[in-house]
């Protein structure tokens, strides 16, 4: 647990990653519980319920928030793995660039799925 010596808005020393990992986790846990509750409530999922959910703006926004939390969370996790196992700095930097570009791409894909022509 990080206490006292580090000011959240000051220098970070990994504190910001630690905190964002947990905040995004809580956001995802809430959304997951919501989805699971909905599935139980409707007793499964058919096309009508599925489509209605994605045409309901608050559901789209909640899903968007979940996805951003997921992508952010994935970034911290993948970076942790990279820092542990990939020692050559150039390789790690290149890989992290690829991961960031991929995650930003996924964010764009998410917007397309939620508000694009398909939905």
């Amino acid at each position: 647990m990080v206490t006292g010596t580090h000011v959240p808005v000051g220098a970070h020393y990994g504190w910001r990653d630690w905190l964002s990992q947990r905040i995004t986790a809580v956001v995802m846990a809430v959304y997951t519980t919501l989805i699971f509750g909905m599935l139980l409530w409707y007793g499964g999922l058919d096309y009508a319920v599925w489509l209605a959910a994605f045409r309901y703006e608050p559901f789209r926004i909640a899903t968007f928030i979940f996805m951003i939390a997921l992508l952010w969370h994935a970034w911290v996790g993948v970076r942790n793995i990279a820092m542990d196992y990939i020692k050559p700095v150039a390789v790690r930097l290149a890989l992290q660039c690829v991961v960031i570009i991929t995650l930003v791409g996924y964010a764009g894909w998410t917007i397309n799925v939620l508000w694009g022509r398909g939905a």
Partner: protein, 132 residues
């Protein structure tokens, strides 16, 4: 003076044969947290986006998705990802509780690791039963 001289730093043994290391249960759950996270990143996220996008196109596309999920390979992928999500979810809740200083002693840590492992496997079994 000689008595004050420090002995030269001895090289520490490095033993990282992953196939021979004996992992205590919390370490096992911890490495599975990492493995499940990597799986969710590599396969889970793109597959989720692809599937949701596909299933929103039309009623026919939705039905096609259901056929894919009914295929043994589709089921297998879904089961692996369901386990990854469940394990990662429960192991994450365990971490959050520990951040709140709940269950941080050795015995509680071992017990909660066992709970995470068993409950996630049981819930995955539930998914298996639901799919078959």
């Amino acid at each position: 003076m000689a008595a004050l001289e420090r002995p030269a730093a001895r090289p520490r043994p490095v033993y990282l044969n992953l196939l021979a290391i004996r992992l205590p249960l919390p370490a096992f759950v911890s490495i599975l947290h990492r493995v499940s996270g990597a799986l969710l990143f590599l396969i889970g996220i793109p597959l989720l986006l692809w599937a949701v996008q596909g299933a929103l196109v039309s009623a026919d596309a939705w039905a096609q998705m259901r056929v894919m999920v009914a295929h043994p390979f589709g089921k297998l992928v879904l089961i692996v990802l369901a386990w990854a999500y469940l394990h990662h979810f429960l192991a994450g809740i365990r971490h959050l509780l520990m951040d709140l200083h709940i269950g941080v002693n050795l015995q509680a840590g071992r017990q909660s690791a066992a709970v995470v492992l068993v409950i996630s496997l049981l819930l995955t079994l539930g998914v298996v039963i639901r799919l078959w």
